[in-house]
Symmetry: C2
Subunit: 558 residues, 2 copies
């Protein structure tokens, strides 16, 4: 970004299976000094596809975005659906690495097509938010381009800003939300990456016949999977609301309770009914990326059938709904819309709003007040800047003691005293508090007990890493009943060389180790692998438990 | 603080030489879980005297205050002059340990006299600032009590709040400013410690004759020391302004330069002339604690001879003056007065204001704007809360890249690229950026070169620890030409058992090791022992140097 130079490099043969999170973490750990200034010239921002990007395998076109995190100070990978990875795959691009920082006040778009790769001055776009930006750029660069872009929050280096990826309809709504990667992109003076795949072929595949065969089997397996049809496709992630609430794990009023009196009204079932009832643009089942047949995403309409936001998901409902004491889905949808537009992570922003509520800035349950807090972010008031800096800084600035973060990142919508395996993941993950780093909800353990949680988290962290390195969705695993061999078989077909599942496990293991090493060298040790102290002695009243997984056992997780 | 219980304990015989910082760090490292929530019930706040408190040995009545730091997350000791340690010594109190937190909304004063020790409800005082509080408490508890107290900033848990100790005239102006210990005291619901020493004897001394003899020799040495008379007594710490400016080490405009065009107008010499010229309450030479004959403190008056603030010192002038581009001593004095009243550290607050200037909140050099920023702290506006959270959080919330902190604490008024030994101290000290943890200004090294700085810092860190553990002032060392044997001889006289200087060195060494261990267990490693990255590549234009002390050598400092 300093001199406007663009160069290309072939992926080495021996690295052909290193993709997605494996690739972002490899590049960051090899090329970025762990103690570097996160917003300085020595940090890098990496966009990487998985192994099957550019194909139409279901749920296999996720985009990994990595760097040293402005929010957590650790290595970071955050991934999103949308169309960018698909288009990169079609163009034969495994990854894009953004280096250095531009001269003060200069900003750019990165435009890539089959013919050219160029940096285009973008100062006129710098201050605008994602909705308007996506419209403007589609007008200028074509309706079918795929984009990754930041709103004003990323441009202002706000620590809870994410990167939006456009979906099949061009909405900038699929978020690599966590870790403040929007601020990293902002520090690079990069407003958007635009991929125009006109004229490109699909993913280059050595053994098309086998590939097609496996793809068919996967499709068949998913379409015959009852859980997919009944839950994922119908209710989406929001199908979790009632389950998690019944487990006493739904964060409520800044993690002071594990069940919400009005959980019913923010449930997936309620949302499904409302979407159907309102009709119009509403759609309970929508694909977030090309080829996905699980379609857990949705389009949530207002009373007139006009779209408010797409999608409205479980984590947002948990953090901006119950955790703020807000029980009105329309309000949550509008909060989500504003976050998407500003380019803010809904989890960290929901956490920040709940902390502001605990500080007495507004009352728990005050949906109108919460919306106004986001207006303050738009207006760039001081309070808006506090909120946009994420939950931890909001708590520190406002003098709040109960700040539910690990490595400065707000804990997602599962109370760690009620689902203790996730507590282990939050505490020990290389990514800070992150459910996607090791989801133990389906692990064969008693969630409120300490026993077996370290093992459950370890297994989940490794399996989740396999999804992240292959660019596949966590839900694909459920859809194919964890027949992960299909992923290595697909890789074999793509590259024409045998890839075994154990090879993918090996890459996942190496990736986790690299990330741990990076974090260690950035100044993080076992002492940082803990939950906030209050979870150890403040009881979750709905489960009557504290977090009590043995710390020594947690240290030995890997 | 939870149940209002007060208990007493004798110091064990074998611990008789463990005082000041040695004692605060011993108690914190033995009794506080390193990973505890800094504002939670498991942190502790310790007030400890040195070995000679309650005597009239010059410069030997400093008060050490310790805890796990809300600002840095490390172990912390911050010490101050004033009368509290003297009065504690007279009452035979080596230390006071504050434990647990009170029920929500309850606050207390801790009152100690010869007759009783009690916690007194203090809700009516909670919101008021130090000037008014000290007046009220003197009215109620007597003009001669000694006090340690917090202003509204500490009560609001602001991360850059300190603890004020009253001086000989009852001003709440001697600050244990660093590390946010005011927020720790605020989290304990403790508004003030009041010591009434009526009827108490002086320090109990086994061999009064020897003690008096050594005290006389110390007095003679100090009074015959020309540097003391010409610099410390006449100009105070502000005598450093011209020297440090000439070395290119005076932080200017958020550490972007090392010399200030208007350094002359904020120099010790200019201040001295002005104090004499204005007369009235002004006094260029004032004792900060009982018995001090160095008298480096001062009383700075306004045009009418009315006191603005006492004292006005070098670090405040560097951080709130040149580092903010402010060249008017009156303005700096008023900034200092407001900080003292609110109970804010002038170093971290000066750093925060300069960072706000870099963010464009106000311009560099805008003294009126800076004063208004502190009014925002009084009014508890959102911007005021940002500033009061210290330089690091201010920079993070406002999206500023150049944040001159180590372990989240603003670097004091010596540019680490120009006085590299101090750079080593800032980076490696257990206390975060702190010049008093290892001042290398007088070390026999070439300050702009990398050679010898690690050794210089190591020696300074050990020697400085000896002052901190004995409760003596850093300037005493200069006053007695580093004849530190006098300190062990005094200890021998006090306790009637031979104390060798090597015993004090051993305690200093143990103390540093304890602190390192605590920090390691709190999650700090060698990777955290670095300066902010910009000092490594952004040149100080006045010395044309970057910070280039070898990181591997720094790792081996102890």
């Amino acid at each position: 970004m300093k001199g406007g130079n663009v160069s290309e490099k072939e992926i080495e043969e021996k690295q052909k299976w290193i993709a997605g999170r494996a690739l972002t973490s490899k590049i960051i750990s090899e090329e970025v000094e762990p103690t570097c200034d996160v917003l300085g010239k020595n940090n890098k921002l990496v966009f990487a596809t998985g192994l099957f990007a550019g194909s139409t395998v279901s749920s296999a076109n996720r985009l990994s975005i990595g760097g040293k995190s402005p929010l957590t100070g650790t290595i970071k990978e955050s991934n999103a659906g949308g169309t960018l990875a698909f288009k990169m795959g079609k163009l034969g691009i495994r990854c894009i690495v953004i280096e250095d920082v531009p001269p003060e006040g200069e900003n750019f778009l990165l435009y890539i097509s089959k013919e050219k790769t160029e940096l285009i001055p973008a100062n006129k776009y710098w201050g605008i938010d994602t909705q308007e930006l996506a419209c403007e750029l589609r007008k200028k660069y074509g309706e079918k381009v795929g984009m990754a872009l930041i709103g004003s929050a990323g441009g202002n280096l706000s620590l809870s800003s994410g990167i939006a990826v456009t979906d099949l309809q061009g909405r900038p709504s699929r978020f690599a939300g966590r870790g403040g990667l929007g601020a990293l992109m902002g520090s690079k003076g990069l407003k958007a990456v635009i991929i125009d795949d006109q004229g490109a072929e699909s993913l280059s595949i050595k053994d098309v016949e086998s590939f097609t065969e496996i793809q068919k089997e996967i499709t068949k397996e998913i379409t015959s999977n009852e859980q997919v049809a009944k839950t994922f496709t119908k209710l989406g992630t929001s199908g979790l609301v009632k389950l998690i609430n019944s487990m006493g794990a739904l964060p409520t009023q800044n993690f002071s309770k594990g069940s919400f009196d009005e959980a019913e009204s923010i449930s997936g079932e309620a949302m499904y009914e409302r979407i159907l009832e309102r009709g119009g643009a509403g759609n309970p089942s929508h694909s977030c990326m090309p080829g996905c047949i699980i379609r857990c995403s949705n389009v949530y309409p207002d009373k007139d059938g006009e779209e408010i936001v797409a999608p409205l998901e479980y984590e947002t409902i948990g953090l901006m709904g119950s955790n703020c004491g807000i029980s009105d889905l329309d309000t949550i949808a509008h909060l989500n819309k504003k976050c998407n537009d500003l380019g803010l992570d809904t989890i960290d922003t929901g956490g920040a709003i709940a902390i502001a509520m605990e500080a007495g800035v507004i009352d728990f349950g005050d949906g109108k007040g919460a919306l106004e807090l986001l207006d303050e972010v738009y207006e760039q008031t001081w309070l808006g800047k506090i909120i946009a800096s994420g939950g931890r800084r909001t708590g520190e600035v406002l003098g709040v003691r109960r700040i539910p973060t690990c490595k400065s990142q707000i804990i997602p919508a599962y109370d760690p005293r009620a689902i203790k395996g996730l507590g282990v993941t939050y505490a020990t993950s290389t990514m800070g508090a992150d459910h996607t780093a090791g989801q133990t909800l389906r692990a064969p353990v008693e969630h409120t007990r300490a026993e077996g949680q370290v093992e459950a988290s370890r297994n989940a962290q490794i399996t989740n890493a396999i999804y992240d390195i292959t660019g596949t969705c966590f839900f694909l695993g459920a859809g194919i009943n964890k027949k992960l061999e299909w992923l290595s078989d697909l890789a074999t077909a793509v590259f024409g060389e045998e890839c075994k599942l154990e090879d993918l496990y090996a890459i996942a293991g190496e990736t986790l180790q690299r990330e741990k090493d990076f974090n260690y060298n950035a100044g993080f040790s076992d002492a940082n692998n803990q939950l906030p102290e209050f979870f150890y002695f403040e009881r979750n009243p709905d489960t009557d438990t504290v977090f009590d997984v043995n710390q020594e056992e947690m240290k030995m997780i890997f």
